[in-house]
């Protein structure tokens, strides 16, 4: 368990460093960087590399935004296995829904109770 914390820290930190390098060296905007990382996550899962990383680093791999691409592909592949090619379309959000729905719901709640502080 302690090893898990350690590796979550290291892998999560390293993914963030990749993001920072995209910010500072490649001079990308946050929007571009995040989009790129999500695409990387999706492609890695396409090669079947992201799942072992999740096994290895736990939250270190599921908390960074790359896991968003990973779980989108995952959902799509799962449904594709069950329903053939059309499953690619229908299964996309099956696994990922939590992050997006949480963001939408909490975003709206936040808008109800908070004011921007400036």
């Amino acid at each position: 368990m302690l090893a898990m914390f350690f590796w979550a820290f290291v892998i999560g930190g390293l993914i963030c460093v990749v993001g920072q390098l995209l910010f500072d060296v490649a001079k990308l905007t946050p929007g571009h960087t995040m989009s790129l990382l999500v695409v990387i996550g999706a492609v890695l899962d396409g090669f079947g590399l992201y799942e072992p990383l999740v096994d290895f680093a736990g939250a270190g791999a599921t908390i960074p935004i790359t896991s968003f691409g990973n779980s989108l592909v995952h959902g799509a592949l799962q449904d594709a296995k069950a329903h053939g090619i059309i499953g690619v379309l229908t299964g996309m959000f099956q696994v990922t829904s939590s992050g997006i729905s949480a963001a939408i719901i909490f975003g709206f709640i936040g808008a109800l109770i908070f004011k921007p502080k400036g």
Partner: protein, 341 residues
């Protein structure tokens, strides 16, 4: 009177008789807090949106200026003002409240000097008895439009600048020889200069050549020597732009002393405030000039100053379409009444 290619000389020497300067909480912690007339503790200023707070800043600054000038708003002929928000609504809405005939100006952060040059010109040729001119900006309202939401956790690079919250307004009227007020003597209107920079987080670097171009034009048109002015102060070049402009001026044959060349964006905040490269925004040059610099002039610290307000004429749209940032700068020379030429 036109002199040279792009400069005016105001031989009737319009006076700046009163100013009103308002600021926000961040400016209250800054270097020049004492030079503000009114400081707000809260960015909201008791309003329900930042845009309304922005409008309030300008309204209050106008009221202070009128009060100090001891005149009624009905006596003022024109208002020359502007800001950075889309269609300059805060200024227009403030003009609606004040009911003063109004010219809406947009020159991004150079609006303050554009307004001062125009109002001096109008007053110089007896176009008006009283003219108000000013510029304002509100950090959160401007950030919201040009960058990201204020609560968004994006990292700003060290070249980024902090839009100031504040408004500066000046009352310009014809010269009365016995009064000790600052007067405007000449102005140079700048060209739009584009050096192909396109990083919106490095405005200073983009604006520096415009400032240099205008300063060079000013000295050429008026056939003056740089030592004529005690201080040449730029609007909001920030750390990057200030250094660049200094070197560029040297290359153009204008040898300035270090202490003779300053920047409003660097004056306004303390070293340890997290503003990266310095302050910016339409209110930056307006608050610093109408607050701090005029006070220093009155105290006699400076005799003649040249204020060069710089503006980056970009929009969020133009930058997303990968356009470079065109920039402009206007210069106005100010000295105390009664100084010998």
């Amino acid at each position: 009177m036109l002199k040279g290619q792009q400069s005016w000389v105001f031989e009737n020497r319009p006076m700046i008789t009163a100013t009103g300067v308002t600021g926000g909480p961040f400016e209250a912690n800054g270097n020049l807090a004492d030079d503000f007339d009114l400081l707000y503790e809260d960015l909201w200023m008791g309003k329900e949106s930042y845009e309304k707070a922005h409008r309030l800043l300008l309204e209050e600054a106008i009221k202070v200026a009128l009060e100090k000038g001891k005149i009624q708003k009905e006596q003022v002929q024109f208002l020359f003002a502007g800001d950075l928000i889309n269609q300059i609504t805060p200024t227009s809405f403030a003009a609606r409240t004040m009911q003063i005939p109004y010219f809406g100006l947009f020159g991004a952060c150079s609006t303050s000097m554009e307004g001062l040059a125009l109002s001096s010109f109008v007053v110089n040729y007896k176009g008006a008895d009283y003219v108000l001119t000013g510029a304002s900006s509100h950090n959160s309202a401007v950030e919201k439009q040009f960058r990201y939401p204020t609560e968004y956790g994006g990292q700003k690079p060290p070249t980024a600048q902090w839009t100031i919250t504040g408004a500066g307004v000046a009352l310009v009227e014809p010269n009365k020889p016995d009064k000790q007020y600052p007067i405007t003597t000449s102005a140079t209107i700048g060209k739009v200069i584009d050096m192909g920079l396109s990083d919106p987080f490095n405005m200073g670097g983009a604006m520096a050549p415009a400032a240099v171009d205008t300063i060079v034009a000013h000295f050429r048109d008026l056939k003056l020597d740089p030592s004529y002015y005690d201080l040449i102060v730029t609007g909001d070049l920030g750390r990057v732009g200030h250094e660049t402009a200094f070197e560029l001026l040297g290359k153009n044959g204008l040898k300035l002393e270090r202490g003779q060349f300053k920047d409003c964006g660097l004056l306004i905040y303390k070293e340890d405030q997290p503003v990266q490269a310095g302050g910016s925004g339409a209110g930056c040059s307006a608050t610093v000039l109408y607050g701090h610099l005029l006070n220093e002039l009155k105290k006699g610290t400076y005799k003649r100053i040249l204020v060069v307000a710089t503006g980056a004429l970009l929009s969020p749209l133009s930058f997303q379409q990968k356009e470079s940032i065109p920039c402009i700068a206007h210069a106005v020379a100010i000295e105390m009444n009664g100084e010998k030429r």
